[in-house]
C-alpha cells in the first residue's frame, strides 16, 4: 500500500528532478498560440500592437513566443484610448 508519506516523498523527488533538470524552464508559463488561435495577420483594425497585452517589439504578456505586431488572436483587448 502506498502511504501518504511515500506519495509525498515521491512527488517531491519528481518536482526536484524536473526543477533541476537539463531543460531550461520558463519563469512563468504563458499560454500557447494554438490555445488563442493566433494568426500573423490582423483582423480588420484589430492587431496585436493595438492590444493591451502587447509588449514591443515582438512579445505578449500572456501568449508565448515571438508575436508579430500585425498579428491577432482570440483574446484581443484594445488599448484604452486617452480621453
Amino acid at each position: 500500500m502506498v502511504s501518504r508519506r511515500s506519495l509525498l516523498q515521491g512527488s517531491t523527488a519528481a518536482v526536484g528532478f524536473l526543477a533541476t533538470g537539463r531543460y531550461p524552464a520558463e519563469a512563468q508559463p504563458k499560454i500557447s498560440k494554438i490555445a488563442v488561435n493566433h494568426q500573423d495577420h490582423p483582423d480588420g483594425d484589430e492587431r496585436c500592437d493595438n492590444c493591451i497585452q502587447f509588449q514591443p517589439p515582438d512579445a505578449c504578456k500572456v501568449v508565448e513566443g515571438s508575436i508579430s505586431p500585425q498579428g491577432f488572436c482570440r483574446i484581443f483587448v484594445p488599448k484604452r484610448t486617452p480621453t
Binding site: 502506498v2 518536482v15 524536473l18 531543460y23 524552464a25 508559463p29 499560454i31 500572456v62
Partner: protein, 435 residues
Amino acid sequence: MVALAALLGAGFLSRPAASLPLYARQTGQPCATCHTAFWELNPFGRRFKLGGYTLGGGDWKGPPFAVTLQAPTYTHTEAGQTGGAAPHFGPNNNFAFQQVSLFTGGRITDNLGAFIQGTYDGVFRSFAWDNVDIRFANSVNVDGHNLLWGVTANNSPTVQDVWNTTPVWSFPFIRSELAPTPTAKTFIDLVYAQQVAGLTGYAFLDDLFYLEFGGYRPLSNNTQKALGINPTGQSPINGVAPYWRVAVEPNFGDHSWEVGTFGLASKVFPIGLSGAGTDSFTDIGIDTQYQYLGDPHTVTARVAWIHENHNTSASQTLGLADNSNNQLRFLNATLSYIYDKTWSFTGGRMSIGGTPDATLYGTFTGSPNSANWISEIAYLPFMRGGPSFWPWLNARIGLQYIRWDKFDGASTNFNGAGRNAHANNTIFGYVWIAF
C-alpha cells in the same frame, strides 16, 4: 452509503462559483478570455489553470480576493415537498440567499498559485471550506516539444480538472439546494468533496496530450470539523484512492475537441464501520467535449459517462446492502449555445441507473434509476467587462427547468406515498454575481 454520504454532504456540495474576478484583475483580462460563459472554461482558461493560476498581465496591486453571491434564488417544484424543502423553508415557492463564497489565491510565485474557496451556505446556515486547488506548475522544452507539467494539492476528485465534463465543474453550473435530488450517485460525483486531501501530478504535452495521476486520502474527523464539514455517516477511504485522468485535446482554428477518460478507485469503510472489512468501488469515466469558439457564436457539447462497480460485501455483512455487488451507470450530456458571450441557452439529459438494492439505497422501489431533461437560459451582461466603476463585476442571471422522467426508480409513486417523478419538476431562477 453513497446516498447517505451524498445527503450529508449536500449542504456543502452545491456548485461553487468560478470565473473569478481576482484572476481577471491578475491577468488584466475580461472574464470572456478564460470562459465561454462563466464558469465553463475555453482553451485559454484551461491553460491558465494548468499553468498554476500564475499568469500575470494585469496592473492590479490590491489583495487577491473575490466574492460571489448566489442570491436571490427562487425554487418552484411541480408539487410541494411535505415538511418543507429544507429546515426553515416552506414546502414550495422558496426564495433563498443560497450561497456567498470568498475566494483567494491566484499567483503566489512565478510557478505557484491557488484557487481557494470558503462558502457560507444560506440554506443550511453553515460555513465550510469549499473547493481548494493549489498548484506548482512549470513549462519546459524537451527536444522541441513543449511540456507543461505540474503538481496539484486539492480537496475533491476532479476539482483540478479543466474540462467541464467531470463532476465538480459539469453542467448545471448552479443548481437549487431546495429541489429534490436523486438518492443514488457515483462515488466520484462529489461524494468525497472536501472530505479528502489529494495530490496528483500532471503533464500536458504539446498542447495536446494530457496525463494525470495521483491519490486521495481521507481527512481526520477533527480536521473536517475544524473546516466546517460534518463527518457523520461518511464512508471513508481506506488508505489511498488512486485517481487518474487521460485526455487528448486537439485545437484547430475555432474548434477545440477533447476526448478522455478519468477515474477513481478505493476500498472504503461502510459508514465508517470496520467490523466487516471494506467495500470497494471502481469508477471509470469516459468523456468528450467539443467547443466552437466563434464570434459571436459559441457552441459547446459535453458528454460524460461513468460506470461504477461497487463491491458491497462488507455492507452486506453489516446489513447495509442486499447484494454483495452493485453497479451504477451515469450519463450527463449537454449542449450549449452562447450568443455574443451574453446569452446562454443549454439543454441536456442526465440519467443514472443500475442494479436494485433496496437496503443500500433506502428507496421505496429499491432501484437507483433516475433520469431528467434540463434546459436553461442565462443572461451574462458583463463577460466582456463590468461597468466603469467596477470593471471586474460579473453576473449570470438564469432560469432553469428540470423535468424528471423517473426518480428513485419509478415514474409514478416512487416514494410509496403516491408522489410521481413529475412532482419534482423544478423551476429555478437565480442571480449569481461575482466581483
